[in-house]
């Protein structure tokens, strides 16, 4: 068990490509941190630098108060779970689990005990004598986790461990990883490109884009107060609607359509407005609304995703399947649910405080900015 402090870490490849740009993350002991971002955002590189599989170009990584920049991977007291499991194909499951311990000169009796314990925890006891090729994808994944667990390391590093599994198994394993991590209380760093995995697993998630941190925060805070248009469009499914608008006093103009709110005073004249699909609802008569021309509908069962256009701009709304739909629908949103972003930088703009919801948002924005 240990805290991990990543301070101003950069990765510069030969040729000058900067894959990770001065990233700092402080991970508390026992915390589950998820690095999430699109492919090529540097999340795996960052993880591999912590693991010692890539050299750290700049900055320092500390695991439990020890700077480990030049320490061999085996000496860093970490264990890693790989996307393709990376089990030794010629060894039995038992030997796969025991290999790391044997190399460290752990006594035979203790190896036996630890392997047995890990196997029991992961319910792979009956496979201990098998070779990895005789196991299914999910079982291999368990063995890979077992190999990490037996070592009792200071930290677990997960590199997209669920990407090779089918959708259903991924959900099950996601739950198991979460429970296991809670039970063991081991500091964990988890890389994924799947925002749903990130949301469900993380104590705090780190959204990376182009090698830089866009936002660090608890999943719900990131979801409700995304720090930038990038985070807004990346976290949450369907992605947040981002519409260009102009402000004129208390009115927001979306082309020819208008929404009014009394909380716009601090905002610039040109801005990007973010609207979560599920915050939209059908307007009652007399309410202010946006007229949406329906293009097509996706039925999800519990929800119905309505894809349409507002004044030529794309908009997605998640509505109840009970509502009858015409070719156009009038949709509305509570003004406090609107998100505002700078047109050029894409950074979040705070709206004027109004009531409890507003204050909470400001607080979170501040926290996100500090984090």
């Amino acid at each position: 068990m240990a805290a991990i402090n990543i301070t101003n870490v950069s990765k510069i490849y030969a040729g000058g490509v900067e894959a990770v740009k001065s990233v700092s993350i402080d991970i508390a002991d026992g915390e589950f941190i998820v690095l999430v971002g699109p492919s090529g955002c540097g999340k795996s590189t960052l993880l591999r630098m912590v693991a010692g599989l890539e050299a750290i170009s700049k900055g320092t990584v500390e695991i439990g108060d020890r700077v480990i920049n030049t320490v061999e991977p085996a000496e860093r007291d970490i264990a890693m779970v790989f996307q393709n499991y990376a089990l030794y194909p010629h060894m039995t499951v038992y030997n796969n689990l025991a290999y790391g311990l044997k190399n460290r000169g752990t006594p035979k009796a203790e190896i036996d005990a630890r392997v047995a314990e890990a196997a029991r925890m992961l319910e792979i006891e009956q496979y201990l004598t098998r070779k990895p090729r005789a196991l299914s994808g999910g079982q291999r994944q368990r063995v890979a986790m077992g190999r990490a667990i037996v070592r009792k390391p200071a930290a677990f590093l997960f590199d997209e461990p669920l990407s090779n599994l089918d959708a259903k198994l991924r959900v099950t394993m996601r739950g198991e990883i979460k429970q296991l991590q809670k039970r063991l209380g081991t500091t964990s760093l988890y890389v994924t490109h799947d925002q749903l995995e990130a949301m469900t697993l993380a104590d705090r998630l780190v959204v990376l884009n182009g090698g830089q941190i866009e936002q660090i925060g608890r999943p719900l805070d990131v979801y409700h107060t995304p720090a930038s248009t990038f985070v807004a469009s990346f976290i949450g499914s369907p992605a947040m609607n981002l519409l260009r608008a102009t402000r004129d006093g208390p009115r927001l103009h979306f082309g020819s359509q208008v929404l009014e709110s009394d909380r716009l005073s601090a905002l610039p004249a040109e801005l990007t407005v973010g609207i979560r699909a599920e915050d939209l609802r059908v307007a009652r008569t007399g309410e202010q609304s946006l007229t949406v021309k329906v293009d097509y509908i996706e039925e999800l069962g519990a929800q119905r995703l309505v894809h349409g256009t507002v004044d030529g701009k794309k908009l997605t709304a998640a509505l109840s399947p009970e509502i009858a739909l015409a070719e156009t629908v009038a949709l509305t949103i509570a003004p406090s649910r609107l998100h505002f972003f700078d047109v050029t930088t894409g950074k979040r703009l705070a709206q004027a405080p109004d009531g409890l919801g507003g204050r909470r948002e400001v607080a979170n924005t501040l926290e996100a900015a500090v984090g």
């Binding site: 693991a51 089990l87 290999y99 790391g100």
Partner: protein
């Protein structure tokens, strides 16, 4: 599925006839007496002197010095074949391991230099090699017979391609598991290469066993003669007013064929696996 027809069998039988026919003729002819062969040519029926001929060939001391037996030559061939195959595997595995897993300058150039030597047969460098061995006083030794032939571009190339197909994550997992370069080689790379090693072993053993020019050049002492050389020697030695011992030459040829055939049969399964298996 394709149903076998009578015609398919004809093709197969024809193939078998072409391949096995000459061997059968050699085997049958070897069981006749030399004079018989000289008079009537090659034989396809057993001649009744099978045991005697082979006993003579294996145990009779012959040659200029009158000391060399067939058994001795067979042992020399085995030593050459085994040493050759084992040495080549070890050397080319280590070379490929360095080329694939260690980042050093000029690795690519080194590889291509090794690779281009594939184009050069032994005969091109045979005189310089001989000169080196001669200067080192290694003629008429097993070391001299084996060592200069060990560097293998073919083997290095095969192992390099094979190592490259092993996922990098395995190396990374091993590094995190605390295995150094040597441990990783012994614990992971070597066991994974088993089938590949078997394939290379067969190719190289047969290649080494069949070496003719190099042993001829390197050995003047008859106790280092190999079987393949011995066949030729028999026909030379007994030439004179006598009839050449055709039967013994054929018997030696059969004996010379036996071990490579056995090796191929024993390792066949691994051999095919090693050359075709890509799922790692």
């Amino acid at each position: 599925m394709h149903r076998t027809k009578i015609f398919d069998h004809f093709i197969l039988l024809f193939g078998v006839f072409i391949m096995v026919g000459p061997l059968l003729v050699a085997l049958m002819t070897s069981s006749h007496e030399a004079a018989d062969i000289h008079r009537n040519g090659l034989q396809i029926l057993p001649g009744g002197h099978f045991v005697e001929t082979y006993e003579t060939v294996l145990t009779k001391e012959g040659g200029f010095t009158g000391k060399i037996t067939g058994l001795r030559m067979m042992m020399n061939s085995l030593i050459l074949g085994l040493g050759f195959a084992a040495g080549k595997i070890i050397l080319s595995m280590l070379a490929a391991y360095a080329l694939v897993y260690f980042r050093f300058r000029f690795a690519t150039i080194t590889f291509w230099m090794i690779f281009t030597t594939l184009l050069l047969p032994l005969e091109v460098r045979i005189l310089p090699s001989y000169e080196v061995m001669n200067t080192l006083h290694l003629t008429n030794t097993y070391t001299g017979l084996i060592v200069p032939l060990l560097a293998s571009a073919t083997g290095t190339f095969y192992f390099r391609q094979f190592f490259k197909s092993i996922p990098d994550e395995l190396l990374e997992a091993a590094r995190i598991d605390g295995a150094g370069p040597f441990k990783f080689f012994i614990d992971v790379i070597a066991p994974l290469s088993k089938t590949m090693m078997a394939a290379i072993f067969i190719i190289m053993f047969v290649y080494g066993w069949n070496q003719y020019l190099w042993p001829t050049l390197m050995t003047t002492d008859e106790s280092f003669f190999t079987l393949v050389r011995g066949i030729k020697q028999i026909l030379l030695v007994w030439v004179g007013s006598n009839i050449p011992d055709y039967n013994e030459a054929f018997a030696l040829a059969i004996l010379a064929m036996l071990p490579p055939v056995m090796i191929v049969m024993i390792f066949q399964r691994w051999f095919i696996k090693g050359l075709t298996e890509s799922d790692k």
